[in-house]
């Protein structure tokens, strides 16, 4: 009985660790930093995207006074940006994280669809 409980407890512990680790994803370090869109967005200026080390991200369109909060993580060399409404944006980094192609459809696509793709370039590495 005691051995059974110990085994059960150990399995439970491992699974709870798994639960904790599942939310962490891969290391964000290599992609953290400040990015700016290469082209203006919707004729309203450039978009600034800041990816912080702590998993928070901000999408700003200064001209419109818009600053949207996201959470972000890295999985399989894709960046996943989550907004509070439950939407997910996928970003594909290239050149070691110097460039980001953000897929604005909110769907998972193997590559960023041209007409809904916003290209960003890193202006500052690292995030606070």
């Amino acid at each position: 009985m005691k051995r059974g409980l110990a085994i059960s407890g150990a399995i439970l512990g491992l699974l709870l660790c798994g639960l904790f680790l599942a939310g962490c994803g891969e290391s964000r370090q290599s992609y953290a930093g400040s990015y700016r869109s290469v082209e203006p967005y919707a004729g309203k200026g450039h978009v600034d995207l800041e990816l912080k080390d702590n998993g928070e991200a901000t999408w700003s369109l200064a001209k419109e006074g818009i600053a949207i909060k996201f959470k972000w993580r890295v999985e399989s060399d894709h960046i996943w940006l989550y907004n509070k409404e439950g939407g997910i944006l996928h970003a594909i980094p290239s050149e070691g994280g110097k460039k980001l192609m953000v897929d604005l459809t909110g769907q998972w696509n193997p590559s960023c669809p041209t007409e809904h793709c916003l290209l960003f370039e890193r202006v500052k590495a690292g995030g606070s």
Binding site: K71, G86, W108, H116
Partner: protein, 474 residues
């Protein structure tokens, strides 16, 4: 087989039989074979056990010096009722049947002791049988408490976790204040469309919009409102749409989450906003449409998780073999596999309930008020039921709940396929996997596994009476 101290001396058996040395692990008698000898343990330690045809072993007792065994079969002439093997190097006195009968004829005291031993064995056997019957009844019993325990605990954990989760969502979603949003009947909306007197705005996700939408409509998905509103404004500016021209929002499903909330958000931006009325779902029949109905839905490869999900399909083949179908070892395997799959399902959803809530809305089966509650509670139900299966706690109730979930999933998947909805499964992983008949088959496999566990599970179970590890002595 009863241990009786100093029996060897009293019975004066030294004139008969022959000493046999048995090395550790060697079998002295085998269950089912015809008896030839009666044995008295002279030194060492021997284990008596029974084994069923499907390999379930029950340890009965351990015998030391002075004990004897093999009398039941030698007296009845029936095959051995149990096996005996040496735990350590031992010596036994092996007495043939003729010699045994001779000793009994000449030694009434020994005969009485053998009869006493057999009677004791029968009484103990009855007690063991009763204990086992009670245990089996308890184990098969299923009570409402088991379901209340799993479902109640899931709900409590979901609510508590949501309180402290960074990605918290409201328990019941509200569209906010809809005062000032005009409801327009479908016919009137069609009239406005024909007169080009309104801009039609599709509130659904891009994949739904791409599949089909009212010709000329603009897509502003609710989930990306903040992000895409500047582009929406830009498009209205490009089309020179006057600010007072009405915007007619459509895209309501069972939950009506998208169209009503988008209407409120645009109203807050000072647009003249209307939503389709009671026949909001009939726009596909009333308006000219455009889009790509056969557009493929991309899904991210799931890796190992995707392969594990194929195992339930192979269980089908095993289920076809009757002895295997009833095997408690298959139940233990099914429990472990189902448990791992459902824990994996749960872990992919628990941290970000808003994402899962959007998946729930996509299926169009849940009213708006229930979406968030379902999105919060279901992953915890999957996690607890999965853990209960792995750990062997209330396994029949856990299997019923997992079976029930699978039925709901199968209904949802079939609905998506039949209606051609452009969505991914959302079952595991946030990018999901394509909804196909293969996915339905995988879920059916899991349903069959849950049924197998419900009917035949009895190994490694932490039950009301304690942990039952069938390899151990009962």
């Amino acid at each position: 087989m009863t241990e009786s101290e100093n029996q060897v001396d009293k019975l004066k058996l030294e004139q008969v039989g022959k000493e046999v040395r048995i090395s550790a692990g060697a079998q002295v008698v085998k269950q089912g074979e015809l008896p030839k000898h009666f044995y008295v343990v002279l030194s060492g330690k021997l284990k008596v056990y029974r084994e069923t045809l499907d390999g379930i072993r029950t340890d009965l007792t351990v015998l030391g010096p002075g004990a004897y065994f093999g009398e039941v079969a030698i007296v009845t002439g029936k095959p051995r009722s149990a096996s005996v093997e040496a735990v350590e190097e031992s010596t036994v006195l092996a007495i043939g049947k003729d010699e045994f009968d001779l000793v009994l004829d000449q030694n009434p005291k020994l005969a009485r002791q053998i009869i006493y031993g057999l009677s004791q064995w029968l009484v103990e056997g009855d007690k063991r049988l009763e204990q086992e019957t009670v245990h089996q009844v308890k184990m098969r019993r299923i009570s409402w408490f088991d379901y209340v325990l799993i479902l109640g605990l899931s709900l409590i954990l979901a609510l508590v976790f949501n309180l402290y989760n960074d990605n918290q969502i409201p328990l019941i979603h509200s569209e906010g204040d809809l005062a000032g949003v005009e409801v327009i009947p479908l016919k009137q909306a069609v009239d406005l469309y024909q007169k080009k007197g309104a801009v039609f705005v599709d509130a659904r996700k891009a994949n739904f919009f791409e599949q089909d939408h009212i010709k000329g409509a603009i897509n502003l998905p609710l989930v990306f409102f903040d992000l895409q509103y500047p582009m929406f404004q830009f498009m209205l500016e490009q089309d020179k749409v006057p600010k007072d021209e009405p915007l007619i929002i459509y895209g309501g499903s069972t939950s009506r989450r998208f169209d009503l909330e988008l209407a409120r958000l645009l109203k807050d931006k000072d647009y003249k906003v209307m939503v389709l009325g009671s026949d909001y779902g009939a726009w596909q029949q009333a308006f000219p449409l455009e889009g790509h109905p056969k557009k493929e839905v991309h899904a991210m490869p799931l890796g190992i998780g995707g392969y594990i999900e194929w195992l339930p399909v192979s269980i089908f083949l095993l289920i076809l073999i009757p002895p295997v179908r009833r095997s408690p070892y298959l139940s233990a395997f099914c429990r472990l596999l189902l448990g791992v799959i459902f824990v994996q399902f749960a872990l992919s959803k628990i941290m970000r309930p808003a994402v899962f809530a959007m998946n729930v809305v996509d299926y169009g089966m849940m009213p708006a008020w229930a979406v968030n509650l379902w999105a919060l509670a279901l992953p915890w139900g999957e996690l607890l039921a999965g853990l209960f299966l792995i750990l062997g706690i209330r396994t029949r109730a856990a299997a019923t709940i997992i079976g029930g979930m699978n039925i709901i999933f199968i209904i949802g998947l079939v609905k998506v396929i039949l209606q051609g909805l452009p969505i991914t499964c959302g079952c595991v992983g946030e990018a999901g996997e394509p909804v196909t008949w293969w996915k339905v088959l995988k879920n059916t496999g899991m349903l069959v596994m849950a049924l197998q566990v419900f009917f035949y599970d009895k190994l490694f179970v932490l039950d009301r009476g304690g942990f039952i590890w069938r390899e151990k002595k009962i």
